[in-house]
């Protein structure tokens, strides 16, 4: 690779790359993000390559390209394949489809109907990404390029305009000017707290001390969240470019990517991106001839959720145990190795090149008064279109869940959406029309967080949800300060007790009191927000808590200690289905003999309830009421009068 010494040389390089690329040449883009890989994308890629070999497309004549890309978001329908130049979007592609795709679509330019998206409501088929409702209702500024570039190729990034923002910042702007621009854009930190990024940069810039550091926080650890992972795996260059611009603005010459160890592909792609950027001279000494020096290193997190908290992250970077330290002093004053440090989340950094390229209005024209730009969410749980979505701030929760997410599967009722991970809260149905905005979400007791969004339907028990998150936190708190360590421990004990039917009068009030102390007295934000799942579910679903405590009833039929399965002897047709499927062999019966569940053996797995044919509907769930006694032996025989045959 040649070393690029000026913005003009960069443009030459870009021209050179583009001139070698024929936009009409067919290219098969296969998502090899983690979700699609799990669904077999690697085998799909192998099948395509095999097909090229067979048809002698790849080796001698090189008539078609294949591109392994990062995650474009529609994980639910993976492996995803897009055929260029027509941009035909195929879903759930299997290795066996490769032959047909190459011969029909790539060579004969015919569309294969069965691989297209079909709208479940209208039955209409969509040929292009942009026509699929899941994508149509998004605004994909940050992840839109994921399908267009190979995350292992900096040339691909340059081909879509990469590094033009860095050239502009270094060539035409002073550092102060960059800080002002980011301030004007109202970019707020995407890691969760939503602190204005420009202000943070200004603090770090003005803070006395040398050297200064910049850090990418990629210690994404919320259960069910994979926004940062997808950005780093799919387009690490955008984050690296943003970081480099930030370093220039703040006056830092040393940066770190703090990536969690559990993201091996992200670590690999970021490391490679840094290497390639160094080779072109986008990192290192005298970047683009500007006199600005900057180096970046990757640090792998050792698997602690709390290290996503910025002071713990710094401790970990220093090689110490990942435990928070008190703020003030803030990292902008005394951060890494006691020097001024600016830490931003992956997504925050990825926004920076867009702002530099397109001006502050690019962000301020989107969103609400207090929250500008787009936000990536990982939409998971009981929703039809599971995946990664990027939407404009100010969109309603309802639009995210129903328009983008395609609603709740199986005709079930929506119950709540959990936003913000273990520090967030569950938002009930009556607030579905609030706008997604840092401040609005806070008002209803949730937070934007880093962007995890878990949709829950009527089969979710909110007490169990609170217990789940507290259980997560009990192992992820660092355990240093007593309100967090002991408060979470006791709250979890009480919640477990309630779920086991041993809840007592006064438990709700005790949870509230514990929650308050944990929130107010803890050392860091983990403890400060740890009671949220509890306090918030009590706020909106107090009746469920009361049902568990007073009636020993779990309204959603989730808490195993509080439910029982029972076969209605009047409905059972002795079909043997549940009897055969019961993994605990807890069902007795036989042909023409009414089935009975042995309550002592039953593990409450619910298999019988699921497999009982709907025309019989004989298995019922009970909670809060005693299980009727089993049918007496002599009354278990079913006499079928209609058939009238006796043997």
């Amino acid at each position: 690779m040649p070393r690029i010494n000026s913005p003009a040389e960069l443009e030459e390089l870009r021209k050179g790359i583009l001139s070698k690329r024929d936009p009409k040449k067919p290219c098969i883009a296969v998502c090899t993000g983690t979700g699609c890989l799990a669904l077999g994308a690697a085998r799909v890629v192998a099948a395509f390559k095999e097909e090229f070999k067979k048809k002698a497309l790849g080796t001698k004549v090189d008539l078609v390209n294949i591109r392994e890309t990062g995650c474009p978001g529609f994980c639910e329908r993976g492996p995803l394949v897009v055929i260029y130049p027509e941009e035909i979007c195929y879903l759930r592609v299997k290795p066996a489809d490769a032959e047909e795709i190459v011969s029909q679509t790539v060579l004969a330019k015919k569309i294969i109907d069965r691989l297209l998206y079909v709208d479940p409501l209208t039955g209409e088929k969509s040929v292009h990404e942009s026509e699929i409702p899941f994508y149509k209702n998004q605004m994909r500024h940050l992840i839109g390029n994921n399908i267009k570039i190979d995350p292992k190729s900096i040339d691909d990034y340059l081909a879509v305009g990469g590094y033009s923002a860095l050239a502009k910042a270094l060539g035409q702007m002073t550092p102060e000017h960059v800080v002002e621009l980011v301030k004007d854009s109202n970019l707020r930190g995407r890691g969760g707290a939503g602190f204005p990024a420009g202000k943070k940069w200004e603090f770090a810039r003005k803070s006395p001390g040398n050297p200064k550091y910049v850090v990418v926080n990629a210690d994404e650890g919320d259960p069910g969240a994979f926004m940062d992972r997808a950005v780093l795996e799919g387009n690490p260059f955008s984050v690296l470019e943003g970081l480099t611009i930030g370093a220039y603005a703040i006056g830092s010459h040393e940066g770190y990517f703090y990536v969690r160890q559990e993201y091996p592909l992200a670590v690999e792609n970021v490391t490679l991106a840094i290497q390639q950027a160094e080779e072109y001279g986008f990192l290192g000494k005298n970047i683009l001839g500007s006199g600005f020096d900057f180096t970046v290193r990757v640090h792998r997190g050792a698997g602690a959720f709390v290290c996503g908290e910025e002071t713990s992250l710094l401790m970990s970077l220093e090689g110490k145990p990942g435990e928070p330290r008190a703020r003030p002093p803030y990292p902008a004053v005394k951060g890494l190795r006691e020097k001024p440090t600016n830490i931003n989340n992956v997504e925050t950094w990825a926004n920076v090149p867009l702002i530099v390229n397109n001006g502050a209005e690019f962000l301020t024209s989107i969103g609400t008064k207090g929250s500008k730009g787009t936000k990536i969410f990982s939409l998971v749980g009981k929703v039809n279109n599971t995946g990664l979505v990027e939407v404009p701030m100010g969109i309603t929760l309802r639009d995210i869940i129903y328009k983008v997410g395609g609603g709740i599967p199986g005709g079930k009722r929506f119950k709540a959406v959990q936003s913000g991970g273990p520090s967030g809260g569950c938002i009930p149905e009556q607030y579905l029309d609030i706008k997604v905005d840092f401040d609005e979400l806070k008002k209803v007791g949730a937070i934007m967080g880093s962007g995890g969004m878990i949709v829950m339907d009527e089969d979710t028990c909110m007490v169990d949800v609170a217990r789940y998150f507290l259980n997560f936190l009990t192992g992820e708190s660092c355990g240093k300060c007593s309100p967090c360590r002991e408060g979470i421990r006791q709250m979890l004990k009480i919640l477990t007790r309630i779920c086991e039917g041993k809840g007592e009068e006064g438990d709700i009030e005790l949870l509230e009191e514990l929650g308050e102390t944990t929130r107010d007295a803890s050392l860091c934000a983990l403890g400060g927000t740890a009671p949220n799942p509890v306090l918030n579910t009590i706020r909106y679903f107090r009746d469920e808590y009361e049902a568990h405590i007073k009636e020993k009833r779990c309204p959603a039929f989730v808490c195993k200690h509080l439910i029982a399965y029972h076969i209605d002897p009047g409905k059972c047709q002795a079909c043997m289905t549940c009897l055969r499927k019961c993994p605990a062999q807890a069902i007795t019966g036989g042909k023409k003999q009414i089935h009975v569940i042995d309550q002592d053996k039953c593990t409450k797995c619910g298999t019988c309830f699921e497999v009982c044919p709907s025309k019989f509907d004989a298995v019922e769930r009970l909670s809060g009421v005693p299980v009727p006694p089993p049918v007496p032996e002599d009354a278990r025989r079913i006499v079928r009068e209609s058939k009238g045959k006796k043997r």
């Binding site: 709390v306 355990g479 107010d520 007295a521």
Partner: protein
């Protein structure tokens, strides 16, 4: 010297810049209870018994006085309904571990904490870290350390170091508010010290 004027419990207090609220209060003879604080050690901020109410930047919040640096016009209340309620709850949480600790009982009386509010926990260590930090910062031996995290966090003596260093030191024992350090040492000695024949 740079001095800062702040208000603690309605009194004007002069403090040197860089002092913590706790230091400023003590210099003015105002008592704030502590469990994990020790003059010879770096402020740690773990027990949170020393929380006080502070008005700063237009906001009132609970802060750990052993860590929070003094700043001009800071208004501090070392006792208030909120402070007392928080200390009471923290004490009750810690008493679940060490109901018989004299230090905790004394404070429990002051704040009306119920030693039996929560079910008793098996480990009677309250993880103030005095032993760990004293061994590290003052003795520089690191014979005792923290292990695991969250609710599983505990202190342990490292047999290889403790077998050489601790017998003639034991300076952490009297620091311990619950005598757990001593118990942990003897347990380690009994279970995991290198056998005597190999010890020099």
């Amino acid at each position: 010297m740079n001095e800062t004027l702040l208000k603690i419990d309605g009194r004007d207090v002069r403090a040197k810049q860089g002092m913590t609220i706790l230091e400023a209060a003590r210099s003015a003879g105002i008592f704030i209870p502590t469990l994990c604080h020790h003059e010879k050690l770096q402020p740690y901020g773990a027990c949170r018994i020393c929380v006080v109410e502070a008005d700063a930047g237009g906001r009132t919040s609970l802060v750990a006085s052993c860590l929070y640096p003094v700043e001009p016009d800071l208004v501090v209340r070392t006792r208030s309904e909120k402070v007392d309620k928080t200390r009471k709850m923290i004490l009750e949480l810690l008493l679940a571990h060490a109901p018989d600790s004299p230090r905790l009982q004394e404070l429990a009386q002051e704040y009306g904490a119920d030693r039996d509010r929560f079910d008793k926990e098996s480990a009677f260590c309250i993880l103030c870290g005095l032993c760990v930090r004293y061994c590290n910062e003052v003795k520089k031996k690191n014979a005792v350390g923290f292990f695991d995290r969250g609710a599983s966090r505990e202190i342990n003596f490292i047999p290889e170091i403790a077998s050489k260093e601790c017998w003639n030191c034991k300076e952490c024992f009297p620091l311990c508010p619950t005598s757990y350090a001593q118990a942990a040492y003897h347990l380690t000695e009994a279970l995991a010290f290198p056998c005597r024949s190999s010890r020099r």
